[in-house]
C-alpha cells in the first residue's frame, strides 16, 4: 500500500470525523442556548407585570404612611368637619315652597341626626 496515499486518506477521514463532530456538537449547543433564552424571556414576561403591580401597591401604601405622618390629626378633623358642615348646609336650605328636603337633612354621609 502506498503509505503516502494511506496517510492522506487517513488524515482526510480524521478531518471529516472532526468536522462532523464539531458540527453535531455546535448544533446541539445552539439549540440548548435558544431553549434557555426562550425560557428566560417567557419567565421575564410573566414576572414583569406582577412586579409592577406589587410595586404600585407598595408605593401607594408608603405614600399613605407618609401623608398620615406629615398631616396633623387636628387638621384632618377640621377639614372633615368643614366638609360635613358644608354638606349639611347645602342640603338643609329651604325650598321656595318652604319645604325642606328632610331626607337630606342629615349631618352628612347619610347619617340622620338624633331627634331632639
Amino acid at each position: 500500500m502506498n503509505t503516502t496515499t494511506h496517510d492522506t486518506t487517513h488524515a482526510d477521514s480524521l478531518d471529516l470525523a472532526i468536522i462532523s463532530e464539531l458540527t453535531a456538537q455546535e448544533t446541539l449547543r445552539r439549540q440548548f442556548a435558544r431553549w434557555q433564552a426562550q425560557h428566560d424571556n417567557s419567565r421575564r414576561l410573566r414576572l414583569t407585570p406582577l412586579i409592577a403591580n406589587l410595586a404600585s401597591i407598595a408605593a401607594l401604601f408608603v405614600a399613605g404612611l407618609i401623608v398620615q405622618a406629615l398631616v396633623p390629626n387636628s387638621l384632618v378633623n377640621a377639614q372633615v368637619s368643614t366638609m360635613l358642615g358644608t354638606f349639611r348646609h347645602d342640603n338643609s336650605t329651604p325650598h321656595n315652597d318652604g319645604s325642606t328636603n328632610a331626607a337630606a337633612d342629615t349631618i352628612g354621609f347619610g347619617i340622620r341626626p338624633p331627634t331632639p
Partner: protein, 209 residues
C-alpha cells in the same frame, strides 16, 4: 413539569420530536441546577459544564450507542446490548463530574506544563475504560473529547469556518482580534493541526492509531 422516563427521553431524541426535546432539556436543566451547588464546589461555571455534559449524552443517544432494547435502556457494545445500571440523569451527572474534574486537571496542567502527568492521566483513562467499548467507539469518543477540549478561540474560528461556512475575509470582519487574513489562516490551520495531533497522540497511547 412533566416527569420524563428514560424510555420516553431516548425515543424523543431518536425521533427528533422537537416539542418533547425542549421539555426534556428543561427537565434535565432543572435537576442539574438543583444539585450543581453541591456537585461543583470547585467553582466551575455550571452552565458550560451542563451543556458539555448534555451534548455528550445527547450524542450517545443520537448515534444509538444508548438505545432501547427489549423494553430496557441499553448501551450497545460489540453489537450486543448491555442494560444500563443507572438512570440517564445519573449518567448525565457522572459525565458532568468527569468533565469538571478534567477541566480542573487541565487548568492545573496548563499551569505546570507537566508532560509526564498528561501521559499518566491518559494511561489511567485507558485502563479505566469499560472493556465493552469497541475500538471505533473509542476513536469516536476520543474525537468527541478532543473537540470538547478546544479552546474558546479555536472553537470560534473553526465553528465560523466549518459550521457557518464563512470565508476567511468574513471571519476577519466578525473577529477583528485577528490582525490579518494570513494570521487567521495560520490560526485555523494550527487549531486543526492541534486537534489532529491530540487525537493521534491519544489513540497512539491507547494502541488504536
Amino acid at each position: 413539569m412533566k416527569r420524563w422516563t428514560d424510555k420516553e427521553i431516548v425515543c424523543a431524541i431518536v425521533e427528533r420530536d422537537n416539542a418533547a426535546l425542549e421539555q426534556i432539556y428543561h427537565s434535565f436543566r432543572t435537576y442539574f441546577m438543583l444539585h450543581a451547588g453541591t456537585l461543583f464546589a470547585g467553582g466551575a461555571p455550571a452552565d458550560d459544564i451542563f451543556h458539555d455534559a448534555l451534548v455528550h449524552l445527547w450524542r450517545e443517544i443520537e448515534t444509538r450507542r444508548i438505545a432501547q432494547h427489549d423494553g430496557r435502556i441499553c448501551r450497545w457494545t460489540d453489537g450486543e446490548p448491555r442494560p444500563m445500571t443507572s438512570s440517564l440523569t445519573t449518567f448525565l451527572i457522572a459525565i458532568a463530574k468527569r468533565k469538571h474534574w478534567e477541566q480542573l486537571r487541565r487548568e492545573h496542567l496548563v499551569l505546570t506544563d507537566n508532560e509526564h502527568t498528561l501521559e499518566t492521566l491518559d494511561r489511567e483513562r485507558y485502563e479505566q475504560r469499560p472493556p465493552e467499548l469497541t475500538d471505533d467507539e473509542v476513536r469516536q469518543q476520543v474525537v468527541a473529547d478532543a473537540v470538547l477540549r478546544l479552546t474558546e478561540r479555536c472553537r470560534d474560528i473553526l465553528t465560523l469556518f466549518y459550521y457557518e461556512h464563512h470565508s476567511l475575509d468574513e471571519i476577519l470582519a466578525i473577529r477583528p482580534a485577528n490582525n490579518s487574513k494570513m494570521g487567521l489562516k495560520t490560526s485555523k490551520y494550527k487549531c486543526m493541526q492541534r486537534l489532529r495531533q491530540s487525537v493521534h497522540d491519544r489513540l497512539s497511547k491507547m494502541g488504536l492509531d
